[in-house]
Symmetry: C2
Subunit: 151 residues, 2 copies
């Protein structure tokens, strides 16, 4: 590569990194937003399997959970965001930054069940949605037990 190109690439990389920089308080707020929005959608699916089943609503809810689950929220767990306040004081446990392998497994399990929920929702089979909601919810709970400070 010629020198000019190297400099251009380097400048682009630096610009990209600087541009992508998220303030710690924003990172905490964004991840709380992601979980908060998923909570609504979990609640909606639950209401649908317990009451009147509206396939369209379940599909919308499942798609939102799936897209958020796959959005790469891990990037919001920046160093230094183990303490601090977004919408509220973070309830992230220090284990998030130390037990990477365990966290990775929890994240993979959650994503798998979120993807499956979107597929099951598309079938419109209420009983299958109910069953999948249980599986998905257990991956939420598993992660909360290990990595989220209790209410």
């Amino acid at each position: 590569m010629n020198k000019k190109l190297v400099i251009a690439l380097l400048a682009a990389t630096i610009a990209g990194t600087a541009g992508a920089q998220v303030k710690p308080e924003d990172a905490i707020k964004f991840r709380q937003s992601g979980y908060g929005f998923m909570a609504w959608n979990m609640q909606r699916i639950k209401a649908n399997v317990e009451g009147k089943f509206d396939k369209d609503e379940v599909v919308k809810a499942a798609n939102a959970i799936q897209a958020i689950a796959n959005s790469g929220m891990g990037a919001l767990y920046l160093p230094g965001t183990d303490k601090g306040k977004g919408w509220e004081t973070t309830r992230a446990k220090p284990a998030i930054w130390t037990e990477k392998e365990k966290l990775g497994k929890a994240a993979v399990a959650f994503n798998k069940e979120a993807n499956e929920m979107a597929k099951v929702a598309a079938t419109g089979d209420a009983a299958a949605v109910k069953e999948q909601l249980g599986k998905l919810g257990s991956t939420c709970k598993g992660c909360h037990d290990d990595f989220k400070i209790k209410d």
Copy 2:
């Protein structure tokens, strides 16, 4: 329909409605979460078009915005949620509940551009993503100008 079936359907409808009931403070929190999470993803796409373009990250961000935009957040603007606190005091203007036609147009425009953003992101064309980000951003701004109390 026989009487038994009517009662069963009625019970299911009531259960469904009761189950889907969201507390006003939760409704405000959930919608703030949706916008908060979209803000992160808009910011990420912006960083990508201004710096180093990572197609995978842009696709994830665009898909999250699209799924949230199509999730039916209108249901979170329950009567009585024009005042109150979710994560913070709501900044919803009263016009949301009175200017339905204008709001409807703003919502349709936003959804259209969010859907288009997901399509454009999938092509990996950075220049097209940049252009579409401008269009999408202007639908956000248009709605904020009319329906959101300024910072």
